[in-house]
Amino acid sequence: MTVVTCKNVSIRYITGDLKSIGLKEYVVRKLTGNYHVREFWADRDVSFKLNKGDMLGIIGSNGAGKSTLLKAISGIMMPISGEIKVKGKIAALLELASGFDEELTVKENVYLRGALLGYTHKFLDEKYDEIISFAELQDFEEYSFKQLSSGMKSRLAFSIACLVDPDILILDEVLSVGDGDFKKKSEAKMLSIISGGVTCILVSHSIDQVRELCNKVLWLDHGTQVTFSDETKKICDAYEEFLVTKKRPENMAEIEKMARDFRERNPEEEQSSKQKKK
C-alpha cells in the first residue's frame, strides 16, 4: 500500500534582503533600487513513492534540499508545483532541541512539547515519569529550563519525541543524541521505533546509517533528484564515490560505474573492518 507519494515536487525558497527588515528600510531600499530578493529552487521535480513499512534515506551534501523536502512532506511548507500525498498520521522530528520555553520548568516544558507533538493529557500523565527517567533528569524536574545544560536539553527533547506513535516518521538527524551511554540508549530506542513497522523518512549525514537501515534511497544534489532507487547499497557506493570525485552521474549506467569504482578502491574487507571499528 502506497503511503507517501511525491510527484514532481518543486519547492522554491526566497532569500535576500527580506529577512528581519523594517518597513522604513524596505521603503528606502525599494526607492534606491537596493532591494534584492533572490529566488531559488530548493527542490526541483522530486518524485518518489513509499509503501507501508519502507525506510527511505535521503542523501546529498549541504544545500541539496533535504530538509526543505522534509518540511514539505510534514506540511510546514507548500510545494510550488507537484503533489504530495500522505496517508496516515505524520510525526516530524526536525531539530527538536530548539523551541522550548526557557522560563518554564522542565515539567511544564514536557507537557508543552508533548502537546505540540500531539500527545494527549492522559498519555503524558502516564508517560511523564518514563520521560524524565529516560532523560536522566529526575533531580531537575522543578528547575527552570534555562538552568539545564545543552546536553540535558537535547536529552529531554529526545525523550519526549521518542514516544511518538505515528504511521509515518520523519527524522532529520535525530537518530541519537548525547554522548556515551545516552547515545547508545537513544539510538537503540529510535531503532526499536523504526523497526516497529512504521514508514520512515530519514535524513542522515552518516552514509553508513543509511546503508544499514534503509531499503530505499533518494539522492538529491543542489535541489534536483539524481536518483530514487531501492538498490541502497549500490547507490550508497556511488554516492561515496561522488563525495570523492565530485562528478555528478547523469544516468543509471554512470551510477553503476561509480559504484564499481568505489568498490575497487575500497575492497569489501576494508569496508567491514571500518564498520567494526565504528
Partner: protein, 276 residues
C-alpha cells in the same frame, strides 16, 4: 419542491460536515491550546500574586494620574467623570494589550512554527485569552468603583457582554493582521506604538466630545475603539441601551477585522517561513 429538498439536504449535510470538522479540530488542539494559555499566564505573571495584582494596578495608576490632571478641565461639566475616564482606560488597555501581544506571538514562537506543523493562529488566540482575563479583572474593579461612585446596577449592565465579545473578536482580527505585518516588517512594533498613542488621543479617553460640531461627533464613531468605549459609557453612566444600529456597527467592526485577519493569515500562511 423535490429540488428544493435536495438542495436543502445538501446544504444541511455540508453544514453538518463543516461543524464536525471544526469540532474535531477544536478537540484535537484543545490540550495544546490549554498548554499555550497556561504558558502565557506563567510568563506574564511570573507566578506571583503581585504579578497578577500589578496587571490590575497599572490601569488603576493610570486612572489615578489622569484623573488628578483632567478633573480640573472636564470634572465639573461631566457627570461621573472618574467612571467616564475609567471606562475609556479599561477598553483602551484591553485593546492595546491584546493587539500588541498578538502582534509578536508568531515571531516569538519561530522555533516552534518552523519545526512543528501546528495551526499558527493558536498562538495568537492564546495571547488574546490572557489579555481578556486581564480585562475581566479590571472590569471587576470598575464595577466596584461604580458602587463607590453611587451608580446603581441595572439589568442593562448585562448588555456589556455584547461589546466585550465584539471587542475581543476585533482584537483577535487585528492581532492576526499585525502578526502578519510584523513577520514582514520588524519595525512594526515601533510604528504601532506611535499609532496607539495617536489612537489614544483620538478615542476621547479623557476628554468629552460634546464641544465638537455634531458632524465631527459622528466621525468619532469611525474609530472602532471609541465606539466600544462609548457603549460602555452609555450603559453605565447614561443608563441607556444603544440602538440596534449601534450593535450592528460594533459587530461589523469585529467581523471586518476578523475577515481581513483570516484572509491575510490564509494567504501568507506558507510564506511566513521565508521571513522567520
Amino acid at each position: 419542491m423535490g429540488q428544493t429538498y435536495i438542495i436543502g439536504k445538501y446544504v444541511y449535510d455540508r453544514i453538518l460536515l463543516l461543524m464536525e470538522k471544526v469540532l474535531n479540530r477544536v478537540k484535537e488542539y484543545s490540550f495544546l491550546f490549554e498548554q499555550l494559555v497556561s504558558r502565557d499566564f506563567k510568563r506574564k505573571y511570573k507566578r506571583t500574586v503581585l504579578g497578577m495584582l500589578w496587571s490590575v494596578l497599572s490601569p488603576l495608576l493610570m486612572l489615578f494620574v489622569m484623573r488628578m490632571i483632567f478633573i480640573n478641565f472636564f470634572g465639573s461639566s461631566t457627570p461621573h467623570y472618574t467612571i467616564y475616564l475609567f471606562a475609556g482606560i479599561i477598553v483602551m488597555s484591553f485593546y492595546r494589550e491584546a493587539t500588541k501581544t498578538g502582534m509578536t506571538s508568531l515571531v516569538q514562537n519561530t522555533a516552534i512554527v518552523t519545526k512543528i506543523n501546528v495551526p499558527k493562529y493558536l498562538f495568537i488566540f492564546s495571547r488574546n485569552v490572557s489579555a481578556f482575563v486581564n480585562f475581566a479583572l479590571t472590569l471587576g474593579v470598575f464595577f466596584v468603583y461604580c458602587l463607590v461612585d453611587r451608580i446603581s446596577f441595572s439589568p442593562s449592565f448585562l448588555m456589556l457582554i455584547f461589546p466585550s465579545i465584539t471587542l475581543t473578536l476585533m482584537n483577535i482580527g487585528i492581532g492576526m493582521i499585525l502578526s502578519c505585518l510584523y513577520i514582514f516588517f520588524r519595525d512594526m512594533t515601533y510604528l504601532y506604538d506611535v499609532f496607539l498613542t495617536l489612537l489614544n488621543y483620538l478615542s476621547a479617553v479623557f476628554y468629552t466630545i460634546d464641544r465638537f460640531a455634531i458632524g465631527i461627533q459622528q466621525l468619532f464613531l469611525l474609530n472602532p475603539v471609541y465606539a466600544h468605549i462609548r457603549y460602555f459609557r452609555m450603559i453605565v453612566i447614561e443608563n441607556a441601551i444603544p440602538g440596534i444600529g449601534y450593535h450592528g456597527l460594533l459587530l461589523l467592526y469585529a467581523l471586518i477585522f476578523l475577515a481581513i485577519g483570516f484572509y491575510m493569515y490564509k494567504r501568507y500562511n506558507y510564506q511566513f517561513i521565508y521571513y522567520l
